[in-house]
Chain length 245, copies 4
Amino acid sequence: MAKRIKVTIWNENRHEQTSEKVRSVYPKGIHGALADGLGIKENLEIVTATLDEPEHGLTEERLADTDVLLWWGHTAHGDVSDEVVERVYQRVLHGMGLIVLHSGHFSKIFKKLMGTSCDLKWREIGEKERLWVISPGHPIVEGIGECFELPHEEMYGEHFDIPQPDETVLVSWFAGGEVFRSGCTFHRGQGKIFYFRPGHETYPTYYNEQVLTVIRNAVSWAAPTGREYPKYGNAQPLEQVPVYE
Amino acid sequence: MAKRIKVTIWNENRHEQTSEKVRSVYPKGIHGALADGLGIKENLEIVTATLDEPEHGLTEERLADTDVLLWWGHTAHGDVSDEVVERVYQRVLHGMGLIVLHSGHFSKIFKKLMGTSCDLKWREIGEKERLWVISPGHPIVEGIGECFELPHEEMYGEHFDIPQPDETVLVSWFAGGEVFRSGCTFHRGQGKIFYFRPGHETYPTYYNEQVLTVIRNAVSWAAPTGREYPKYGNAQPLEQVPVYE
Amino acid sequence: MAKRIKVTIWNENRHEQTSEKVRSVYPKGIHGALADGLGIKENLEIVTATLDEPEHGLTEERLADTDVLLWWGHTAHGDVSDEVVERVYQRVLHGMGLIVLHSGHFSKIFKKLMGTSCDLKWREIGEKERLWVISPGHPIVEGIGECFELPHEEMYGEHFDIPQPDETVLVSWFAGGEVFRSGCTFHRGQGKIFYFRPGHETYPTYYNEQVLTVIRNAVSWAAPTGREYPKYGNAQPLEQVPVYE
Amino acid sequence: MAKRIKVTIWNENRHEQTSEKVRSVYPKGIHGALADGLGIKENLEIVTATLDEPEHGLTEERLADTDVLLWWGHTAHGDVSDEVVERVYQRVLHGMGLIVLHSGHFSKIFKKLMGTSCDLKWREIGEKERLWVISPGHPIVEGIGECFELPHEEMYGEHFDIPQPDETVLVSWFAGGEVFRSGCTFHRGQGKIFYFRPGHETYPTYYNEQVLTVIRNAVSWAAPTGREYPKYGNAQPLEQVPVYE
């Protein structure tokens, strides 16, 4: 039996309230669809949290009990309180995994961890996306073929203003002529971060088996190692050092 | 004649006001010593700026006229206004080079660009530091031997909480038993960043010819390429895309 | 129960024949000590192979049945047949993990995979080595403190002529004044490679619990994902392309 | 005046002998077209060399007098002598820049430096290629817009079996549905390497001003720093070390 991993799926959950189209695609919300899709893995303990819960559902207790946090947001990045962002940030530095999905590229937490604008090109005309595996030995693409297609998606195009990823796992081709680094890993402190591009709210992307496989693999990859936080600050010498006056 | 580069040397300049020892080592201030040391390169146009000037000497005009900014701060990181930090940040994303020196690792601007705590171990007993070249083909270490020594320096030790550098150019050995990634490059937006460890305020480090050579090389490396800022946002397709309903 | 991993420990096993000192430290050979030390993990199926066996013990069948190969060699790199090196190389590109130990830095297989001389500085006076964790979130250092010491080891010093590692996990401090990138990851094809510095034949390094923990972790990290080899060569278009004359 | 750089353009020059079509596109050979196109930069001293010259035109003297070597080969990789490959390899480790063009991905020298198969997907139907800038601050894309198009090119598609590049500067979009890392930097020893994808022999790609700009920039970037080769081998301690018996 694989290692148990505690997953919290965070979703802004606003489009689901205001758009019938989104509701028809995701009747249980994007968080609900992801919980169902990931939940077939028996080693994952999944809870969900949404923006309009108290403290956005991300209390100290909830985060302390989270190994890997998924983040989907789009229309209400500004409504996420700076206090909660700081809390998530500290948990990432202390080892919690973070998987940022699609329009989460513009979330406060992702921009804070990247140190860049995280800006990009976009277009919403339902064009075809094909994601190519660039790092075939990476555990995040285990079980994925050399590429997979999403018949209709929002386009995100380069330049994507992120630091050079530690590993670029997937690159997308779009019918309209752009490319995009769609699967990117980063390390911040002791935490592992995976950005995964697909998932516009009006398409059934989070029911796609390949998309779900990537996310499940990313959860395993991002799980913390359980080490203590490093000792920082003033340190005694480990060797005898000549006295300097 | 090499390309002209406009350099602004920013120094907190507080220790120089309060400590006779620091003043005796740096009678013209750390910024003054650096200006003298870098100024022998004819292609550099150097100005200095300090914390207690209006807008910390970093007005919109000054930054717009800066190719590469050097940053030395230590005791007063909190006194740097968020507005000026944001201004410097935007300039880096738009292409300005940034060289962060020594205790600048804890400056607001460096932490904002790194997305991590930038914490480390430290010890101030005047021990020996030896910096080893790890990337011998890198232009930042042109003219530097395989290693160089500083007889007395503050120790900084790992773990240094930064993202994995794009290139690790120098690694330090300390007499007391630690190691440290002392010369690290990063890219953020269109800007190039170099972190360079040495330079405690009570030692004559910034008169050392090898230290100055590294900084001069870093200025050349970090100079902007002069390209336009990328076009972000909504984009028309470059290819004909089937209509999706 | 964790995933079963088939491990082959390859050792040159020559010093053990010719040196009483080495034999006294490693009466079962370096491969035997490693097999005992790793074997406490129940999910590892361990076999050993040595230079003087037919085909150096690395037949097609043996390699086909190996998930992760460990490599220790020193005095007889030239005696390893090019045919076996090519066989190991192809297995790495197809996904087999490879852990190269200590003086294996100069083996034919490591140099072939790196594309560099893999040269370094060395000194054998039994000085102290302290290995510092640089990437605290990396699974290879799970269970390891912020640093660990080996009281007596051969020194390896920078410059170490390798490509920039994908991740630098450990950096060593040596009493004699050098530093060294002691734990480095690389990807080649679908295979994962870990270079781990310690392990001179006259010291009981491979009985050290921290050293063994690093190697056990590296075995788990380097295990293949079981994906098919990519399809290379001529490819039909996936989209309709205008005919060009 | 910018630094003088000595450039040797090496071309297999076989298609030009056997194909009227190639000859009509490149009447002076691919090497001749590149020499003309790069030669407008006054700081470049350009010579050419081809496969059928003695020692392939790459004598010890020629290479010793070369700062940056360009390499175009395709149909006759096997005819390049191992001795010349070793000579070029040693020069790269000692600091010579190397720019590998298009089908040079399968040359002996590139495979030796990469340590991988360098295999890829390909298709020759004259489809459109669009190269996107991924690293907008990189000097290799100075003067290049956010993307540029080649109306007809051979397709190269992922997976491209190379080590993760130190920097991925350009990614291609192809009309037939693939993507490719088209501009990649690597460091080997003291040498800098740039792989640049475009340049099939039947298209006028090497007359394209954007392609030439990238190559000219790459020549400047890859020029050596002129440092001495590192000292490897046995080293005396730099610090006093307790005697170990």
